[in-house]
Subunit: 100 residues, 2 copies
Protein backbone atom coordinates (compact mmCIF):
# COMPACT_ATOMS: atom_id res chain seq x y z
CA UNK A 1 0.00 0.00 0.00
CA UNK A 2 1.32 3.41 -0.99
CA UNK A 3 0.23 7.00 -0.54
CA UNK A 4 1.33 9.46 -3.20
CA UNK A 5 0.56 13.17 -2.86
CA UNK A 6 1.66 16.14 -4.92
CA UNK A 7 1.97 19.90 -5.18
CA UNK A 8 2.30 20.61 -8.90
CA UNK A 9 1.59 24.06 -10.30
CA UNK A 10 1.12 23.33 -13.99
CA UNK A 11 -2.37 22.03 -14.84
CA UNK A 12 -1.14 19.84 -17.69
CA UNK A 13 1.58 18.11 -15.67
CA UNK A 14 -0.78 17.64 -12.73
CA UNK A 15 -3.37 16.02 -14.98
CA UNK A 16 -0.77 13.77 -16.60
CA UNK A 17 0.40 12.58 -13.20
CA UNK A 18 -3.10 12.02 -11.78
CA UNK A 19 -4.02 9.97 -14.85
CA UNK A 20 -0.82 7.91 -14.57
CA UNK A 21 -1.39 7.25 -10.85
CA UNK A 22 -4.91 5.98 -11.54
CA UNK A 23 -3.76 3.96 -14.55
CA UNK A 24 -1.17 2.18 -12.40
CA UNK A 25 -3.68 1.24 -9.72
CA UNK A 26 -3.95 4.08 -7.23
CA UNK A 27 -7.26 5.57 -6.07
CA UNK A 28 -7.86 9.29 -5.59
CA UNK A 29 -8.71 9.78 -1.92
CA UNK A 30 -8.39 13.57 -1.97
CA UNK A 31 -7.72 16.13 -4.64
CA UNK A 32 -3.95 15.73 -4.49
CA UNK A 33 -3.69 12.50 -2.47
CA UNK A 34 -3.78 8.99 -3.96
CA UNK A 35 -3.64 5.61 -2.23
CA UNK A 36 -3.61 2.04 -3.30
CA UNK A 37 -2.05 -1.35 -3.14
CA UNK A 38 0.34 -1.41 -6.05
CA UNK A 39 3.03 -3.87 -7.05
CA UNK A 40 6.71 -3.02 -7.40
CA UNK A 41 6.34 -3.06 -11.16
CA UNK A 42 3.61 -0.38 -11.08
CA UNK A 43 5.57 1.70 -8.59
CA UNK A 44 8.58 1.49 -10.88
CA UNK A 45 6.49 2.74 -13.79
CA UNK A 46 5.12 5.60 -11.69
CA UNK A 47 8.68 6.59 -10.78
CA UNK A 48 9.59 6.57 -14.47
CA UNK A 49 6.65 8.91 -15.18
CA UNK A 50 7.76 11.17 -12.32
CA UNK A 51 11.31 11.21 -13.61
CA UNK A 52 10.03 12.29 -17.02
CA UNK A 53 7.62 14.94 -15.64
CA UNK A 54 10.30 16.45 -13.41
CA UNK A 55 12.41 17.12 -16.51
CA UNK A 56 9.55 18.84 -18.36
CA UNK A 57 9.95 22.55 -19.11
CA UNK A 58 6.70 23.22 -17.22
CA UNK A 59 7.95 21.55 -14.03
CA UNK A 60 8.44 24.23 -11.36
CA UNK A 61 11.27 24.28 -8.82
CA UNK A 62 8.58 24.32 -6.13
CA UNK A 63 6.81 21.22 -7.43
CA UNK A 64 6.90 18.27 -5.10
CA UNK A 65 5.67 14.68 -5.09
CA UNK A 66 5.74 12.56 -1.94
CA UNK A 67 5.89 8.76 -2.10
CA UNK A 68 4.99 7.18 1.21
CA UNK A 69 4.91 3.39 1.64
CA UNK A 70 2.24 2.53 4.21
CA UNK A 71 2.25 -0.19 6.84
CA UNK A 72 -0.89 -2.18 7.64
CA UNK A 73 -1.02 -0.22 10.89
CA UNK A 74 -1.98 2.87 8.89
CA UNK A 75 -4.63 1.03 6.90
CA UNK A 76 -6.16 -0.30 10.11
CA UNK A 77 -6.26 3.12 11.79
CA UNK A 78 -7.17 5.52 8.99
CA UNK A 79 -10.12 7.80 9.65
CA UNK A 80 -11.99 10.58 7.88
CA UNK A 81 -13.84 13.65 9.07
CA UNK A 82 -16.48 14.76 6.60
CA UNK A 83 -16.82 12.97 3.31
CA UNK A 84 -14.86 9.75 2.87
CA UNK A 85 -13.33 9.19 -0.58
CA UNK A 86 -15.82 8.01 -3.18
CA UNK A 87 -15.87 4.21 -3.38
CA UNK A 88 -14.00 4.10 -0.06
CA UNK A 89 -15.69 0.84 0.99
CA UNK A 90 -14.56 -0.72 -2.24
CA UNK A 91 -11.03 0.66 -1.90
CA UNK A 92 -10.65 -0.35 1.73
CA UNK A 93 -12.29 -3.69 0.98
CA UNK A 94 -9.79 -4.27 -1.79
CA UNK A 95 -6.99 -3.26 0.56
CA UNK A 96 -8.12 -5.70 3.21
CA UNK A 97 -8.68 -8.47 0.68
CA UNK A 98 -5.16 -8.01 -0.58
CA UNK A 99 -3.71 -8.02 2.91
CA UNK A 100 -5.56 -11.03 4.33
Amino acid sequence: MHLISYDIQNDGLRLKLSKALIRYGLHRVQYSVFMGDIRDRALHKIKMVLNQLSKDKNWSVDDSVMILPLHQYSEDHISFVGKPPSRWDEISGEIHTLIL
Copy 2:
Protein backbone atom coordinates in the same frame (compact mmCIF):
# COMPACT_ATOMS: atom_id res chain seq x y z
CA MET B 1 3.68 10.19 13.75
CA HIS B 2 0.56 11.27 11.91
CA LEU B 3 -0.30 12.46 8.44
CA ILE B 4 -3.33 14.73 8.09
CA SER B 5 -4.53 15.89 4.69
CA TYR B 6 -7.60 17.82 3.66
CA ASP B 7 -9.88 18.90 0.83
CA ILE B 8 -11.73 21.94 2.18
CA GLN B 9 -13.41 24.40 -0.17
CA ASN B 10 -13.88 27.42 2.08
CA ASP B 11 -10.72 29.55 2.41
CA GLY B 12 -11.50 30.59 5.98
CA LEU B 13 -12.09 27.07 7.27
CA ARG B 14 -9.03 25.79 5.45
CA LEU B 15 -6.87 28.50 6.99
CA LYS B 16 -8.29 27.85 10.47
CA LEU B 17 -7.48 24.16 10.17
CA SER B 18 -3.97 24.67 8.77
CA LYS B 19 -3.18 27.06 11.64
CA ALA B 20 -4.55 24.60 14.20
CA LEU B 21 -2.54 21.70 12.74
CA ILE B 22 0.66 23.73 12.94
CA ARG B 23 -0.19 25.02 16.44
CA TYR B 24 -0.60 21.43 17.65
CA GLY B 25 2.76 20.31 16.28
CA LEU B 26 2.31 19.22 12.69
CA HIS B 27 4.53 20.41 9.83
CA ARG B 28 3.24 21.37 6.40
CA VAL B 29 4.85 18.99 3.93
CA GLN B 30 2.63 19.92 0.99
CA TYR B 31 -0.12 22.44 0.44
CA SER B 32 -2.84 20.24 1.93
CA VAL B 33 -0.69 17.58 3.65
CA PHE B 34 0.70 17.86 7.18
CA MET B 35 2.92 15.45 9.10
CA GLY B 36 4.40 15.32 12.53
CA ASP B 37 4.96 13.43 15.71
CA ILE B 38 2.14 14.52 17.97
CA ARG B 39 0.98 13.24 21.34
CA ASP B 40 -2.49 11.87 22.00
CA ARG B 41 -3.40 15.10 23.76
CA ALA B 42 -2.61 17.19 20.65
CA LEU B 43 -4.43 14.73 18.40
CA HIS B 44 -7.44 14.96 20.67
CA LYS B 45 -7.39 18.75 20.39
CA ILE B 46 -7.11 18.56 16.61
CA LYS B 47 -10.13 16.24 16.54
CA MET B 48 -12.04 18.75 18.64
CA VAL B 49 -11.18 21.51 16.14
CA LEU B 50 -12.29 19.24 13.29
CA ASN B 51 -15.53 18.45 15.03
CA GLN B 52 -16.19 22.17 15.41
CA LEU B 53 -15.22 23.04 11.80
CA SER B 54 -17.38 20.28 10.36
CA LYS B 55 -20.41 21.89 12.02
CA ASP B 56 -19.64 25.34 10.60
CA LYS B 57 -22.13 26.78 8.10
CA ASN B 58 -19.29 27.11 5.57
CA TRP B 59 -18.37 23.42 5.77
CA SER B 60 -19.26 21.76 2.46
CA VAL B 61 -20.70 18.25 2.09
CA ASP B 62 -17.71 17.47 -0.14
CA ASP B 63 -15.13 18.58 2.45
CA SER B 64 -12.92 15.83 3.73
CA VAL B 65 -10.08 15.45 6.22
CA MET B 66 -8.00 12.28 6.42
CA ILE B 67 -6.21 11.29 9.62
CA LEU B 68 -3.58 8.64 8.99
CA PRO B 69 -1.42 7.27 11.81
CA LEU B 70 1.98 6.34 10.38
CA HIS B 71 4.23 3.44 11.31
CA GLN B 72 8.00 3.86 11.51
CA TYR B 73 8.18 1.85 8.28
CA SER B 74 6.66 4.83 6.44
CA GLU B 75 9.05 7.29 8.04
CA ASP B 76 12.02 5.12 7.04
CA HIS B 77 10.88 4.77 3.43
CA ILE B 78 9.44 8.17 2.55
CA SER B 79 10.80 9.80 -0.59
CA PHE B 80 10.25 12.97 -2.58
CA VAL B 81 10.52 13.82 -6.26
CA GLY B 82 11.21 17.50 -6.81
CA LYS B 83 11.34 19.85 -3.87
CA PRO B 84 11.32 18.28 -0.41
CA PRO B 85 9.28 20.14 2.24
CA SER B 86 11.01 23.19 3.64
CA ARG B 87 12.93 22.32 6.81
CA TRP B 88 12.62 18.64 5.90
CA ASP B 89 15.99 17.76 7.48
CA GLU B 90 14.81 19.34 10.69
CA ILE B 91 11.42 17.62 10.54
CA SER B 92 12.82 14.20 9.71
CA GLY B 93 15.62 14.73 12.25
CA GLU B 94 13.04 15.53 14.87
CA ILE B 95 11.06 12.47 13.83
CA HIS B 96 14.08 10.22 14.13
CA THR B 97 15.12 11.78 17.42
CA LEU B 98 11.69 11.12 18.82
CA ILE B 99 11.69 7.53 17.60
CA LEU B 100 15.20 6.54 18.67
